[in-house]
Symmetry: C2
Subunit: 367 residues, 2 copies
C-alpha cells in the first residue's frame, strides 16, 4: 500500500477528527475507498476507538432507489440511533463511477434525501469529516492520469496543517478586525462590507469546525457588495460548464452579468430567489498543495492564490450573536472562483493583505 | 450480471428472510459480495424495506484488531441499538481471501468476540440469514475453477425450496414419531434413541427457524448411541485435515476411535469435556444440488445422500418442553459426515427410510 494512504488515514483520524479512546466511530466507505478504510481502521484500533463500518456504495444505492416506489419511511429509527449515538462519522469518498446514480430520477433521490433529513442532521451533529480516496474514476473526472491524480490529492491532503492553521489564523484576525474588503484584478474591482462578521479558519479539523479534508480556506459573509468581478476559473454548475462569469454589483445585488460560457446557468441561479442575487460567502483559498482546478469544488475553492464568492445562502458560523438575522437566505449556494494572479490585490480597510497572489507574510510579497 | 445473482437475491429476500414492506434490514456485505449486495438492494427497494448496509471486510477487521490493544469496550451502544432495532440481518459472505485474518492473534479475536457478545445476540434475535456470494477465493478453498464453483453454489442455492421443505417435512414427521434410528453402511452400524425429540426441518427460511442459504437438512438430537460409525467424507477441523474417522459408542459415549488422518484432532476434541464424547446432533443432508464435498461445512453437511453427526453441544430446538435438561452440553460441536452410498440404509423403528442413498419416497428406492 502507498505509504501516503497511511499518512492520509493518520491525518484524518488525528488532525481532522481528533479521535480518542472509546469514541464511537462510524466509518462510511465508498466502493473504491477500501485501502483507505483499512488504513483508517488501523488508526482507530490503535487509539482504542469503536468502529462500525458502513458500505456507502453508489451502485447499491442506485439499485435500491430505482426499485423503490418512492414512498420512503421517514428516518428509520435503527439507522437514526446509530448516527445519534456516534461521536464521529468519517466518510471516505472515492467511487468507481461518479455518474453511478445518473439514471435515478431526480425526484426519487430528493424524496429519499428528504425522508432521511433527520438522519443527515444527526450525522452533521457529530464530529464528522469527509475526505476522498483517489480512485481512477475521480482521476478521470479531474482529467488526470491515475498516478498524477494521486499525487494531486496527497499534495492537498498531506499538509503541515498546524502551520497552515496558524497562517490562516493571521488572515482570520485581519478579517475579524476589518470593516471592508476590496479585491482588484483583471476584470475585477469589488468592495464589500465584512463589519460584524466572524471569519472561519477552515483548517480541515473539527477543532476548527471544519469538516472536509483537504480544506484550507478562510471564509466570511460579505454584505453591500459594489463593483464588478470576473471569475476566471472554469467550473461545472448544475451539470453545465461555466467560464469567465462577470458579475456587476450595486447595493449588494447583481445588476448585470455575462459569461463566456454557461450564461444561462447564471440566469437560472439569479432567478431562483431574492437571496440568490446577493453574495453569501467570500472565501480565500490558502492550500498551496492544490495547484490547479480539477472541477471539484472541494478542492478548487481551497486552491492557494484564489478567491471564491458564493451567490446565495450564507453560513451561520460567520454571524456573531445579535447578527443572525443578517444572514443571507437562499435555496442556492453557488461558488465562483477567481485566480489572484499577477496584478491582483486584496485590501482590508485600505491595507494590502495580498498582492500578485502572495500574502504580506509570504516571501514573494513585494512592497 | 449473471442472472443467477438476481435469482439468489430474490431467494434470499423472499424465501429465506421473508422481507416485507417497512422491515428494517441490515445488509452485511463481504469484500467480494458487491454484486449480490446490489441485487439484494434492488429486491429490498422493490419491497419497500429500509436498508442499512454494513461493510463486513475481513481486511478492515484485521487492521483494526491488529492495531488494538485488546481491551475492547463491551457492546458499544450505537452498534447494539442498530441490531436490536433491526428486523432482519442479511449477511453476504464471499471474501477475497479466506485467510485474511490469519495473523491476528487468536486471543485478540476471542476478546473482540466476547466483548461483542451482546451485539451478536441482538443479531441472532432478528430474522437473520447468512449466505455466500461465489468468489474466486471461495472457489480456491473448494478446489474448483471459478465458473465451476459458481455453478456449484447456484445449484445449491437455487432449489425449489417449497417442494424441498415439503419433502423434508416427511422425514421430520417420521423422526418425530420415531423412537430409534439405525444407520448401517460400510464400517457403520449404529443405533441411537430419538424419543422425545423434535426434528428440525432446516429449509433455508426464517419461517422454518433455518438461517442459512443454502440449507437442506433435517436434524435431531440423539441419545444412548450404540455401535460404530465411519465418517468417510474428508473435512477440516480446527485447521487440520481429518479423514475416515471411526468412532465406537457404548452407552452413548465414544469408547474407542481411530482415523486414517488427523486422529490427534479427534483426541483433542474428545478430551475437551464430558459432553464432547456424546453426540449432540444427527443431521440428514437432503440438498441434491450439493453433489460433492468442498470442505465448507455450510455446504457439506447439507449434501443429499449424506448423514452427519456432531460430537458435543446439542441444539435447543430439538428439545420439547420438559426435556430441556436432556440437552447435551459441551464447548465443542464438531460435525463429521458419512456418505450414504451403495449398501447403506437408515431405519427408524425398524422400518427402512433410506436405502443406497435414496429415500423411500424417491424414484431410486428399491424394495
Amino acid at each position: 500500500m502507498d505509504e501516503r494512504v497511511h499518512a492520509h488515514a493518520e491525518t484524518l483520524v488525528d488532525w481532522s477528527a481528533r479521535i480518542e479512546s472509546g469514541d464511537d466511530v462510524v466509518l462510511r466507505v465508498s466502493e473504491g475507498a477500501h485501502d483507505l478504510a483499512v488504513a483508517v481502521a488501523e488508526q482507530l484500533g490503535e487509539r482504542g476507538a469503536n468502529l462500525v463500518t458502513v458500505y456507502d456504495s453508489a451502485e447499491v444505492s442506485r439499485a435500491y432507489l430505482t426499485a423503490h416506489d418512492g414512498e420512503f419511511e421517514a428516518d428509520p429509527e435503527y439507522e437514526r440511533s446509530l448516527y445519534e449515538q456516534a461521536d464521529s462519522v468519517l466518510s471516505l469518498g472515492g467511487g468507481r463511477n461518479t455518474t453511478a446514480l445518473a439514471d435515478v430520477p431526480g425526484e426519487r433521490r430528493q424524496a429519499a434525501g428528504k425522508a432521511h433529513e433527520g438522519i443527515r442532521e444527526a450525522r452533521l451533529a457529530t464530529d464528522w469529516v469527509s475526505t476522498v480516496h483517489p480512485t481512477r474514476s475521480l482521476a478521470q473526472q479531474a482529467g488526470m492520469a491515475y498516478e498524477e491524480y494521486r499525487d494531486f490529492v496527497y499534495d492537498a491532503v498531506l499538509r503541515d496543517w498546524e502551520s497552515l492553521a496558524e497562517e490562516m489564523g493571521r488572515l482570520k484576525d485581519i478579517l475579524d478586525d476589518g470593516e471592508e474588503v476590496r479585491i482588484v484584478g483583471e476584470g475585477t474591482d469589488v468592495t464589500m462590507s465584512i463589519a460584524d462578521r466572524i471569519a472561519v479558519n477552515s483548517a480541515a479539523s473539527v477543532a476548527y469546525d471544519s469538516h472536509n479534508l483537504p480544506s484550507g480556506e478562510v471564509f466570511t459573509a460579505p454584505a453591500d457588495t459594489e463593483g464588478e468581478v470576473t471569475f476566471d476559473v472554469p467550473m461545472t454548475i448544475n451539470d453545465r460548464r461555466v467560464r469567465d462569469v462577470h458579475l456587476v454589483f450595486e447595493d449588494g445585488e447583481v445588476v448585470d452579468y455575462d459569461a463566456q460560457q454557461g450564461e444561462d446557468v447564471i440566469t437560472e441561479l439569479l432567478d431562483t430567489d431574492a437571496g440568490a442575487k446577493r453574495l453569501g460567502e467570500l472565501g480565500i483559498g490558502m492550500n498551496r498543495g492544490i495547484d490547479r482546478p480539477t472541477d471539484t469544488i472541494l478542492f478548487d475553492e481551497k486552491m492557494g492564490g484564489t478567491v471564491h464568492m458564493a451567490l446565495g445562502r450564507a453560513y451561520g458560523a460567520n454571524f456573531p450573536e445579535g447578527h443572525e438575522d443578517e444572514q443571507n437566505e437562499s435555496a442556492v449556494h453557488a461558488d465562483l472562483i477567481t485566480d489572484m494572479g499577477e496584478g491582483s490585490r486584496m485590501e482590508v480597510d485600505g491595507e494590502v493583505v495580498q498582492r500578485d497572489g502572495s500574502f504580506r507574510w509570504e516571501e514573494g510579497f513585494g512592497g
